[in-house]
């Protein structure tokens, strides 16, 4: 869990990605990259196109133009294939399976890493037994990782808000991703929960997994991220270290508007 890769490797490489909805350009020629071991923050005012950008990366939306490469391989196709390639995400508005237990939710994340067919499942073949045992172990492991081991039998909808966020992260981690995309992981959280979430993201990075995180909580972003990209009206405005971004007057203008002359 503590292995840090020696050589820096380009995990995600996005070139000139554009997404248009009719006449509206939600994402406009964005260049973006993530290296191994990095936490990259993605910030910007509401409606800047951050979530649309995530949707393009994870296959929920098809980019109008541009190229997305994951570890050198071009990403395309349906979300399920993108997950199998190695990108996993959480949602801005939590999208758990409310009437499944916490453990079952995480087990759904294992789906793409298992392949038991109906016949083996019906007759409880050796493959079924092996995969089911491995999946359950892995899922319990991820529940434990996010600190939810004790409540594996609770239905997702009965969990407190903060736990639902963590469960979503555990479910994403269960897909064995090579890159994790978190869409506002602390939205609606109180300060204590926010701090816990921050610890969780840190421990994910320590486990060697690069993370892209959309967030409005600047304390979260500037404490945690190695690099921050600012998206404004679909365009990449600034990209740099937290300190650089924090002092950039264009960012302040984008958030607060320019002073009246």
């Amino acid at each position: 869990m503590t292995a840090v890769p020696a050589a820096v490797e380009r995990v995600l490489d996005v070139k000139q990605v554009t997404k248009q909805f009719g006449g509206l350009t939600a994402v406009n020629k964005v260049d973006f990259h993530v290296d191994s071991g990095e936490i990259v923050g993605l910030i910007g005012p509401n409606g800047a196109g951050k979530t649309t950008f995530f949707n393009c990366l994870t296959g929920l939306e098809e980019p109008t133009s541009g190229e997305i490469r994951y570890r050198g391989r071009e990403l395309s196709g349906r979300p399920a294939e993108v997950v199998k390639t190695g990108l996993a995400r959480t949602f801005q508005n939590i999208r758990l399976f409310p009437h499944m237990t916490a453990l079952e939710n995480v087990l759904v994340g294992r789906h793409c890493r298992t392949s038991t067919g109906p016949i083996s499942a019906i007759f409880r073949g050796p493959k079924y037994k092996r995969e089911e045992r491995e999946s359950t172990e892995a899922a319990r492991g991820w529940l434990d990782f996010v600190g939810l081991a004790r409540i594996e039998g609770e239905l997702a909808k009965n969990l407190p808000y903060g736990d639902q966020r963590r469960l979503e992260i555990a479910r994403a981690l269960a897909t064995d991703p090579g890159l994790l995309l978190l869409d506002e992981p602390t939205a609606g959280m109180n300060p204590i929960e926010t701090r816990q979430a921050m610890e969780l993201v840190k421990s994910i990075r320590e486990a060697g997994l690069p993370v892209i995180v959309i967030e409005h909580d600047m304390k979260f972003i500037f404490n945690l991220c190695d690099r921050v990209a600012v998206l404004v009206q679909g365009q990449l405005l600034v990209e740099g270290t937290p300190a650089e971004v924090q002092s950039d007057h264009r960012v302040i203008e984008a958030y607060l508007g320019s002073p009246v002359e």
């Binding site: 349906r78 009437h99 453990l103 499942a121």
Partner: protein, 569 residues
């Protein structure tokens, strides 16, 4: 709403007037009802059973029911059972319904008050009094979860419950079968049955039983299977070799197998398929074509164990062909398109004369023969002569066992979890790596496979296949069986099929009105138990979301799935 408020005001008044004296009121009224049930109801003989028989011995018709309900009222009033008020309301209302129904029926048929003897007047007064008394009764405690008892005792309860269920089924089918005035008798019995079920539900018997069933799944299934096997023997004994209900049971069994298959598609994967009967039809047509029928278009004749596999596979292929283009749609759109495909199947069957013989269908499908065992012959087993329909019934039980195996084992595998995930949030499932199209197609194909197998047996059972057996109405009835029984559960689909097929048969004496009764029964069912007769834990929770008043299930469910971390479907 105004009706409800009026009823509320009325019950408040009753409560105010009878406050504190409800128990004597119920006691005296129940005693009146009891005495009334023992005395003759009519001044002449010949109306339900031998009503003039001076005392309750043997068949006294509907008076048996009011007598039992009176005893129920007394028990509920003078013991401290949980949920006694609701149960009392059900029982006394049931007694009132039975006696008032009889009163009105006789008034209508015999025209005049002179026909009535003292018994029915006492019964009416008594049941009204008991009803008022129970209205005034304080609400009291609700039934809680049953406490754990030693395992052998719990298993005994499970077995006894299955025996009781079997007895009730046999009695229900037999009731009024040989009466002259069977319609009154049947109505009386159903009112009685509803009242008793409502009362048992109110005091928590059904809740406790379903908990026991979940704790001892294996025993429940074995006991259920034994009860199903015992059924033809019992009904043959009771009705002296009459084949009628065994034939109905054979149809129910084949219908139930298809309904469980549909339950995979609708209940587990959440795909509303309104054309499911087409798969059943494909299986039936294939089996008829390969089964050496008398009036047919093919000369192929294969042994049945091959035929049933070919039929099921053909239906599954048909399912994939229909599913591949349509499963990209969601919700209502999918429902409409499947409806369309179901109709297309029927129209093709009706018009493709060279293969299906058009509207005439393929007829003269011979009885099944497996080895030297002829399904067309009746057999005497254990001294009971079973009509030949029992052969089909038993082979269908085997089919159902297989279908249940498929249903439950897929449900607890990664495939079943993917289905539930798709049902709950398709986008999230896709974004978590579930190949939703493939999984939905799989659900469709497996559902079709099972329906095809059931259809193959049905072709032989019905001895013919024709397009009008596979109408939209059949699809809807199958769906109704799943919904009525309880979506996502096996016993639900079986019970739903049994009710939906047996009820119209039982109500046959009402001729054209039976569809009216049938409709009323369905509406009442959906009003008072929207999750179906047997509700799955997950479904119950989904409905409780919409109904925050019934909060007990939310606290129960995690405990029910305790230790395994999974809700079993």
């Amino acid at each position: 709403m105004t009706l409800a408020t009026a009823a509320g005001r009325l019950s408040a008044q009753v409560q105010a007037r009878l406050n504190g004296v409800w128990r004597p009121v119920v006691g005296v009224s129940s005693a009146l009802l009891l005495v009334g049930s023992l005395l003759p109801w009519l001044a002449f003989s010949g109306y339900p059973g031998q009503l003039k028989s001076a005392f309750f011995l043997g068949d006294a018709g509907v008076r048996n029911y009011t007598l039992l309900l009176a005893i129920g009222c007394l028990i509920l009033a003078f013991t401290d059972l949980p949920g006694a008020r609701k149960a009392g309301l059900a029982v006394s209302a049931g007694a009132l319904a039975v006696s008032l129904g009889t009163f009105l029926a006789v008034l209508n048929e015999r025209g005049g008050l002179g026909a009535f003897a003292i018994g029915i007047i006492l019964a009416l007064v008594g049941s009204i009094g008991a009803l008022l008394g129970f209205i005034a009764m304080p609400a009291g405690r609700e039934p809680g979860r049953p406490r754990r008892r030693p395992t052998p005792i719990e298993i005994l309860f499970v077995v006894l419950a299955q025996i009781a269920l079997l007895a009730v089924v046999v009695y229900t089918l037999d009731v009024g079968q040989n009466d002259e005035e069977r319609s009154s008798r049947i109505i009386g019995f159903f009112l009685f049955l509803i009242a008793v079920c409502a009362a048992l539900n109110a005091v928590g018997v059904f809740g406790a039983l379903s908990t026991l069933y979940r704790r001892h799944r294996g025993v429940t299934m074995v006991a259920g299977a034994l009860a199903a096997i015992a059924f033809p023997f019992l009904i043959s004994q009771v009705q002296d070799g009459n084949a009628y209900w065994i034939r109905v049971a054979a149809y129910i069994a084949v219908f139930a197998a298809a309904a469980i298959g549909l339950n995979i598609v609708v209940g587990q994967a959440g795909l509303l398929d309104l054309g499911y009967v087409a798969f059943f039809g494909v299986g039936a047509y294939v089996a008829a074509l390969l089964g050496d029928a008398r009036l047919t278009t093919s000369s192929v004749s294969l042994p049945f164990y091959l035929v049933i596999v070919v039929s099921a596979v053909a239906a599954a292929i048909f399912g994939v062909i229909i599913g591949a283009p349509t499963l990209r749609l969601r919700g209502d759109y999918l429902a409409i398109v499947t409806l369309g495909f179901g109709e297309i199947f029927r129209l093709v069957a009706q018009n493709y004369d060279d293969l299906t013989r058009g509207p005439n269908g393929i007829s003269g499908v011979p009885n099944l023969k497996i080895g030297s065992f002829d399904f067309g012959e009746s057999h005497t087993v254990l001294g009971t002569k079973l009509p030949y329909f029992a052969n089909y019934y038993f082979i269908e039980l085997l089919l159902i066992a297989f279908v249940i195996l498929v249903f439950s084992r897929l449900g607890t595998s990664r495939i079943g979890r993917a289905w539930v995930a798709i049902r709950e949030d398709e986008t999230a499932a896709e974004a978590m790596g579930v190949n939703t199209i493939a999984m939905k197609l799989l659900a469709f194909a497996i559902g079709a496979f099972l329906a095809g197998g059931a259809g193959a047996i049905n072709a032989h059972l019905a001895t013919q296949v024709s397009p009008d057996s596979y109408t939209f109405l059949e699809s809807v009835t199958l769906l109704a069986a799943v919904v009525l029984g309880g979506m996502g559960t096996v016993p639900g689909a079986i019970l739903g099929s049994a009710v939906l097929i047996a009820l119209p048969e039982k109500l046959r004496t009402f001729q054209d009105n039976r569809l009216l009764f049938y409709g009323i029964a369905l509406i009442l069912m959906m009003r008072f138990r929207p999750t179906g007769i047997v509700s799955s834990i997950r479904r119950k929770l989904e409905f409780d979301d919409a109904d925050p008043t019934s909060g007990d299930a939310v606290t129960q469910a995690p405990a029910a799935s305790h230790g395994k971390g999974m809700v079993t479907p």
